[in-house]
């Protein structure tokens, strides 16, 4: 996706945990929004105010590729009270070089799976349900 696609993305309120790092695309699907350095082209997730390669402060919003590869994951049983447990977390590598730490869902996950982001409830605190992006196996 190019720069134009960003404008087609409608912001959603279902992103309390991760602010503007996820949006819902025109097709109704979740899209992660990272950053791209306008000076050197480095892409990261999440977007940072300064480029970790060239120190440029001109970082544009950049939709991330949807489908990534599950690098590693763990089902975690002991964590802060606010998280739904057990919670499955992992790292997903995107084809643009970004690595995403994420919650995961689905019963048959395996390292190397192709996965894609959705919006899901991952916990609850005094303000109500905590929503975030949650990766699932493609097609599940």
């Amino acid at each position: 996706m190019g720069i134009m696609a960003v404008e087609a993305i409608k912001k959603t309120s279902a992103t309390r945990l991760c602010d503007d790092a996820v949006s819902i695309g025109a097709d109704g699907r979740a899209v992660l929004i990272g950053g791209m350095c306008r000076d050197c082209g480095n892409q990261t997730f999440p977007r940072a105010p300064v480029c970790c390669v060239c120190m440029s402060e001109t970082i544009g919003e950049q939709p991330m590729p949807r489908i990534g590869t599950l690098y590693a994951f763990s089902t975690v049983h002991v964590a802060a009270k606010k998280w739904n447990k057990p919670m499955c977390i992992g790292y997903v590598d995107l084809p643009n070089g970004a690595r995403v730490f994420t919650h995961l869902a689905g019963a048959t996950l395996a390292i190397g799976d192709a996965v894609e982001p959705h919006i899901g409830i991952v916990g609850e605190d005094e303000n109500g349900a905590i929503e975030s992006f949650v990766f699932r196996k493609v097609g599940s």
């Binding site: 480095n42 089902t75 049983h77 977390i89 790292y91 070089g97 970004a98 690595r99 730490f101």
Partner: protein
């Protein structure tokens, strides 16, 4: 740089001291180190005090208790490497000739957090999304098991070895041996880690007195020389990282060996950062004690057990001795100094002449670890 030696060490047994404040955890370790060095406390010219979560001015609070104030005291925070980083500063200060004798402290009180996983900074992106230290190491373990066909029981064997060592160490928090079945049968924390594959929560303090080689020789016949003192930070990488290779430790180990003019084959005993079972296997490989992917086989061969070729974590390591995070690096040095002096009793590594300590940590996005400090000592 002038040569630097350790002339005194001391620690309190690691454990749970919920009713003791951090100053009162710290001073007994300092007093023990001063006694061990056989010097008057007022000969200490500067203090480097490491704590990760102890709060402000911990060095002053400790030294005030024993009437040793009015001197330079530097408080160092570097997560699990806090007191090993403080040690590196002390070595630089003595090695540069600024001071003849300095004190290094490591102290932590984790019981104040009331249990659970180590609190991390929620300003960090991944921490905010739910990352914790057990989860981070668990992902390393999962990927390692996937890449090298390692089974859960092979991971659990690390805990069995280190709990066996800890049973021989009066300063260890966990002093009971455990079986492989007990490790695997304990409750699940973060798959594949069961409870007994995670370091316990606890409190503790350790202290080290450094002197220039010239002064050390005047004070005792058996000073332990610092052959290398190394500190580095992780490399920030926003993208792909091989989680089965701890880059910070691989690089730190190579630089430390180069500084010492030694290699892994020269190390007789080592204390490495086994915060979770997988970590010890990764560090066997990072230090070159075995090739990549061979960590579980090295453990199974008995090479890293007491009596083996390269005993690792004879103190019980973080898994058994405990891991009051800021105290860990200093406590590792206490163990290695005792080993090199032949004072380690039933867990003595026979004939140990060269020992290594390794403390690394700090869970923050984009880094494998925030800090890593490695030291090599020789008698």
């Amino acid at each position: 740089m002038n040569g630097v030696s350790v002339i005194g060490v001391g620690m309190i047994p690691f454990g749970k001291y919920p009713d003791t404040n951090i100053a009162d955890l710290g001073w007994p370790a300092v007093k023990a180190a001063i006694r061990d060095a056989g010097i008057e406390g007022k000969r200490i010219q500067a203090v480097y005090s490491g704590t990760a979560r102890g709060g402000a001015m911990v060095g002053q609070r400790i030294m005030g208790r024993i009437g040793l104030s009015g001197l330079p005291i530097v408080n160092v925070e570097n997560a699990c490497s806090s007191s090993s980083s403080a040690l590196a500063q002390g070595v630089i200060a003595v090695g540069s000739g600024v001071y003849d004798i300095v004190l290094v402290i490591g102290v932590e009180k984790l019981t104040k957090f009331g249990g659970g996983t180590l609190p991390l900074d929620e300003e960090d992106w991944e921490v905010r999304l739910g990352l914790s230290m057990p989860a981070l190491y668990a992902m390393r373990a999962q990927r390692y098991m996937h890449d090298y066909a390692v089974k859960p029981r092979q991971l659990a064997a690390v805990s069995v070895k280190n709990r066996k060592n800890g049973a021989l160490n009066p300063d260890a928090q966990m002093r009971k041996e455990v079986s492989l079945d007990e490790v695997l049968g304990s409750r699940m924390i973060a798959d594949p880690f069961t409870l007994l594959q995670c370091c316990p929560t606890g409190d503790g303090a350790a202290a080290i007195i450094l002197a220039s080689d010239a002064v050390a020789r005047q004070l005792r016949s058996d000073p332990i020389r610092v052959r290398a003192s190394h500190l580095t930070s992780g490399k920030f990488i926003a993208g792909f990282r091989d989680m089965t290779t701890p880059e910070i430790t691989v690089r730190g180990a190579a630089e430390t060996f180069e500084e010492a003019g030694l290699g892994p084959e020269d190390i007789d005993v080592a204390e490495v950062h086994d915060a979770f079972s997988i970590a010890e296997l990764l560090y066997y490989e990072a230090f070159g004690f075995c090739p990549r992917g061979e960590g579980a086989n090295l453990l199974e061969s008995g090479a890293t057990s007491l009596g083996g070729r390269i005993p690792i974590n004879p103190s019980g390591g973080l898994l058994a001795k405990g891991h009051p995070v800021g105290a860990t690096g200093a406590a590792q040095v206490v163990e290695i100094v005792r080993q090199l002096r032949g004072e380690a009793g039933p867990r003595q590594v026979e004939g140990a002449k060269v020992g290594l300590t390794h403390a690394t940590g700090g869970g923050i996005s984009g880094f494998d670890h925030g800090a890593c400090s490695i030291h090599i000592f020789q008698r």
